[in-house]
């Protein structure tokens, strides 16, 4: 995956967020303040606009996302996703592609960023419960010698499972923690937006694969 694919990923995700804004709003209304849809939509719309004139390298593309989310998104998701993309950008300094064996470390950087920013260790019913399992999944899939599309498909699957699994968890961090036991039975909005992020990655690579074959 190179900068062109990364840009396509971010652009597709921006579209997905715009389409799924209502879902994120609904999830956050149940256990938060109902703004996760608006927060994400505002941030990723700005990313999409910024990307139009962007001509830099891979690391810079991630930095652009980070900066844009940090400056545009009110709420927890701004600094959380902003930190994820900042750490990834730093891990990608000097690189032109993300190869199958790079994903594990990249995701690890992102997950650690969330852990530090959000002061979570796992089990708190946040997006971190999705992020935290991805580095190992990437590691194992890469070790099995799978290709990129298989790898990100696996990531997308696991992210979806983990996001859905937050439904049965009790929140102990973030706004949902105020609800205590009443947070059980509702999916975490940030976990959902994370699952959507990896599904957008999968479909971006799947389309590219189709397009590559056609060429």
């Amino acid at each position: 995956m190179d900068v062109t694919v990364a840009k396509a990923w971010f652009q597709r995700y921006a579209d997905v967020i715009s389409e799924e804004k209502a879902l994120l709003t609904r999830l956050d209304s149940a256990i938060g303040d109902g703004d996760h849809g608006a927060n994400m939509a505002r941030g990723w719309k700005a990313v999409q606009e910024e990307l139009e004139s962007f001509t830099g390298g891979l690391s810079d593309a991630f930095l652009l996302v980070s900066r844009t989310l940090i400056s545009k998104v009110g709420g927890a998701s701004g600094p959380l996703y902003g930190t994820v993309f900042l750490r990834m950008s730093m891990a990608l300094k000097g690189k032109e592609t993300i190869d199958e064996t790079d994903w594990s470390n990249l995701l690890q950087q992102g997950a650690e960023g969330i852990a530090q920013r959000g002061k979570v260790t796992g089990g708190e019913k946040t997006m971190y419960d999705v992020w935290s399992v991805l580095p190992q999944a990437a590691e194992e899939t890469a070790q099995q010698g799978e290709d990129e599309l298989t790898l990100v498909t696996r990531l997308a699957q696991i992210a979806r499972e983990k996001a859905d699994a937050t439904q049965e968890m009790k929140a102990t961090k973030g706004r949902a923690a105020y609800l205590g036991d009443r947070s059980i039975g509702h999916k975490d909005p940030g976990a959902e937006s994370t699952a959507l992020l990896f599904d957008a990655l999968r479909s971006t690579l799947a389309d590219k694969g189709g397009a590559d074959h056609e060429n």
Partner: protein, 131 residues
């Protein structure tokens, strides 16, 4: 010229921050108090960019960030990392929003140092209000 210390009130709500400032400034008249509040579009929220701008415009040797809830903390810490990289001295204070800001401001008002102001603000949670 730089002032010694300033407070930045980081809140989800502009009105909350402005109300806290008017209450505090009625006592701590000489302490600069800035506000970083709201989502930047009239709604509730906090933005690290807004915090960065407030700290930069404070033009103080040391800036104390006092935050209301949840994501205000994350944005405050995010902002202080960005600001530390620019050489700013910024401390995120772990204190009740209104009570802690008042104590910090009054400590500065009577000429105490920044670390004393932080210590007193962080200790303010222990003080029973009905005492």
């Amino acid at each position: 010229m730089k002032t010694d210390a300033a407070l930045v009130l980081v809140s989800h709500s502009e009105r909350l921050a402005e109300g806290a400032r008017e209450l505090i400034s009625s006592m701590a008249q000489d302490v600069p108090i800035l506000i970083a509040a709201g989502d930047g579009e009239g709604g509730l929220g906090t933005r690290s960019e807004g915090i960065v701008e407030a700290v930069q415009s404070a033009n103080a040797e040391h800036v104390l960030l006092i935050f209301d809830l949840g994501s205000a903390l994350m944005n405050a810490e995010m902002a202080s990392e960005l600001l530390a990289a620019e050489g700013h001295e910024v401390t995120v204070v772990d204190a009740p929003f209104v009570e802690g800001a008042m104590v910090a401001a009054m400590a500065l008002q009577v000429g105490k140092g920044v670390s004393e102001a932080i210590k007193e603000a962080e200790a303010s949670r222990q003080q029973l209000k009905k005492g």
